[in-house]
Symmetry: C2
Subunit: 248 residues, 2 copies
DNA sequence: GGGAATGTTCCGCTCAGCGGTACGCACCAG
DNA sequence: CTGGTGCGTACCGCTGAGCGGAACATTCCC
């Protein structure tokens, strides 16, 4: 063992992951020392690693500031089925936004989290804090529950076998209750979120299923509680999800 | 030296870069053997490395197929000033599309290439092969020349000191001619591309400059030769580039 | 069944790269 | 000016991560 104790394993990829992982939407620009502190890696190690990452375009450096590099943006555009998914989904999502006037989301599952792939803002301008590329625990939002409902058992137990973090005033934190909700979502095809992901936010979501039954993404409509009649937009969300799934 | 001869250095980041770099828009889905072949890395090494990358979410595996993972998409969304740039530029680009009816591009410089950050398709539907996240040699397109014109000398000589690849029927391949064009672009603020990037394609571009004079991106309008009066849309492109620059 | 592809596992050797330490530089306070 | 505190980089000796050839398990096709 090279170091006394650390949370990051002695594995090249792990270190790269740690350094890149130090960046998030609240920390888009970091210096070497900050990365070192955030990751727990020694400063000299960080300095060398960062230099390598800059050489290969994973990071961009401006003076002493570091940012995620364009190269990663390029890779990101190739990610999974994103391009095809986006291309197929966009027209439907646009219709949904027009029809409801609310924020429309397209998200995929990544481990125990949900990642937003596309967001169309409602007519009244941006207000919800969600952003493209952003994460949210799957158990705490409509899209997440819609995805989990049709995911393989392994994915569900991954979520349930960890503490269900509280995100909003009414986040479901009991695994049993969550599983019960998932069963109902499987039946109805619709997942609801009433202040589970945030104060005053409500959503309806539906999973986009591949021909083989696997969920590839989920669509949702979100708005302020009260300003949105979840029950009434539900069918529209479900229709859009089915249409996208059929086109895949 | 661990291996007899290879183009990839014995450097962890280099190997990661090589494996990820094996993916491109024509090869979004690869198997271990293909990656091994494309990179020149031994199969056993590739297998282990790929497994690590999957663990950390850089790659997604479906059966034996590998794709770029969602995690890289997330990082990509944090890339450089992309989000801010996009947010500021989008309204202007939309106006430009409305006004001209042609394809509108927003691109940044990455080494000797240009990477498209945003593309708005013209009214007549998609026809040009450019895509978001895609690359094109900087010397062979309007956005590229607009960026090079205001770039530091180091960036220009990087381009000029390599063979200028022919991309379209009229690609500029003589360094001296390129430099001459760059000088004129610096004066007029407008870069033209007349079948230099592809048969029947013409564009006008203008650089978006930061307050300190550095180019951060370039805007262009592209269309079929003949279907587009470059001279007439030039001022609009320039105006939009200036407006975006002022807002940064 | 044999051949050729795929993928993973094994294991011993070795150098990539780790990180403690030292250093140079830029601030700022006293 | 001096001492303190931050930054980022360079040095260098030790060592275990991880390299890769070989062997092996599958699968597919002829």
């Amino acid at each position: 063992m090279r170091t006394a104790e650390r949370n990051i394993p002695d594995l090249a990829v792990a270190r790269v992951s740690a350094v890149l992982g130090a960046f998030d939407s609240r920390h888009r620009e970091l210096r070497v020392s900050e990365i070192s502190r955030r990751t727990g890696l020694p400063k000299s190690t960080t300095s060398r690693l960062v230099a390598d990452l800059v050489t290969y375009g994973f990071l961009d450096r401006t003076g002493t500031s570091l940012r995620i590099g364009v190269r990663l943006f390029e890779f990101g555009e190739l990610a999974s089925g994103r391009r095809d998914l986006r291309a197929i989904a966009l027209p439907y999502l646009t219709d949904l936004r027009e029809a409801t006037g609310q924020d429309v989301h397209l998200a995929v599952l990544a481990g125990t989290d949900v990642v937003y792939v596309e967001i169309l803002r409602g007519r009244d301008g941006p207000r919800l804090p969600s952003e493209v590329g952003g994460r949210l625990p799957a158990h705490a939002c409509a899209v997440g529950k819609a995805l989990l409902a049709f995911a393989v058992e392994a994915a569900v137990s991954l979520v349930c076998n960890q503490p269900l973090r509280t995100v909003g005033p009414r986040t479901v934190t009991a695994p049993a209750l969550l599983r019960q909700q998932l069963a109902r979502i499987r039946e109805s095809g619709l997942a609801y979120d009433n202040e589970e992901s945030g104060l005053g936010v409500a959503s309806v979501a539906s999973a986009v299923l591949h021909a083989d039954g696997r969920p590839v993404a989920a669509v949702s409509v979100s708005g302020r509680t009260g300003g949105l009649s979840l029950r009434s937009v539900g069918p529209a969300v479900r229709t859009v999800a089915l249409s996208i799934g059929r086109e895949l």
